[in-house]
Amino acid sequence: MHPLNVFRLLAGLLFVGLGLVFLADAASWFELEVRYVWPALLLGLGAAGLLSSVRRA
């Protein structure tokens, strides 16, 4: 194992969360508001990059 890469960890968790939300929407467990998806994606990736940079610094 190499030292923890925070960006990959947070981006991975973001994608897992989004994937589960889309799966739940496909299964009609709840109705997804699509307009929230791309801001959530940008916010998540940006926060992951920021935290990763801060941790590295």
Binding site: M1, R8, A11, G12, F15, V16, F22
Partner: protein, 271 residues
């Protein structure tokens, strides 16, 4: 421009610059720029360039780090392919699997690959794949109708003696559901028909009452000649047969992008 005569001997020429004046006065002179390795005993001059032009010996290769060599990206891509293939097979056999379901499962696998890659290996390309999958999922979800049932042109015309299924689906293409010959035998029968992208035509029997609920995310809606178009179009229509009704057909029609038409059987030949 120099004011010194061209034939003047440099050693006997009068001092003109500050450095020359300081040299003549015997004071130590600080060079104005680096003058080479000889002036600094701590610096080591580079080795001479050999005739073959190779100035330095090649760097010794660092030993491979097993944690960074772990092919987590390749493994994740393979898992995604296996997952998509399995879901595709299931959709062909019995289970209804939408494109959104397959893409969402692939996105979850991508995320898990990245989480593993945070400690192990180098998951190359997985972030880009995750972004692409998320955007594709956003597009499919925006259509509002599951992309399931395949792609292409399909004409469904059930035989009179066959009971209607609960639903007909097509992902992308043209779907014609011709119920002209269906015999409801006096029953109330519900039928759902969905199309993701394309044109959907439903031809209802001439001898039954019909209650239609229709939605189009973007496109045109035509219920027994009543036309509406635009974004998020929905309509409801009740059409009673002039004579004695042989049953009631409850029709739920949904299309993402495209056109819907519901009409009586006799209209089929005029189209």
């Amino acid at each position: 421009m120099s004011t010194r005569p061209p034939d003047t001997d440099l050693d006997t020429a009068p001092a003109e610059t500050d450095t020359e004046i300081a040299e003549l006065a015997g004071a130590p002179v600080e060079p104005a720029y680096p003058v080479g390795f000889g002036d600094d005993p701590t610096l080591v001059p580079p080795p001479p360039i050999p005739p073959d032009g190779v100035a330095f010996e090649p760097m010794p290769e660092r030993p491979a780090d097993p944690a960074r060599q772990f092919p987590v990206g390749r493994i994740t891509f393979s898992v995604i392919l296996i997952l998509a293939g399995t879901l595709g097979l299931l959709s062909v056999s019995s289970l209804e699997v939408s494109a959104q379901g397959v893409l969402a499962a692939a996105l979850v696998a991508t995320g898990l690959g990245l989480v593993v890659g945070a400690w192990l290996g180098r998951p190359r390309g997985l972030v880009a794949l995750g972004v692409v999958l998320t955007l594709a999922l956003g597009a499919t979800a925006a259509i509002g109708v599951p992309l399931q049932g395949g792609i292409g042109e399909r004409v469904i015309a059930p035989d009179p003696g066959v009971a209607l299924p609960a639903a007909y689906h097509l992902g992308i293409g043209e779907l014609v559901v011709d119920l002209s010959d269906v015999d409801l035998a006096g029953d109330r029968v519900a039928l759902e028909t969905t199309l993701g992208v394309g044109e959907l035509v439903v031809v209802v029997p001439s001898d039954v009452d019909v209650e239609v609920t229709a939605e189009v995310t973007a496109g045109e809606l035509d219920l027994f000649g009543r036309v509406a178009d635009g974004m998020s179009v929905s309509d409801r229509a009740v059409s009673e047969t002039p004579g004695d009704a042989d049953g009631v057909l409850l029709l739920d029609v949904r299309v993402g992008l495209g056109r819907v038409e519901v009409r009586r059987a006799p209209d089929l030949g005029e189209a």
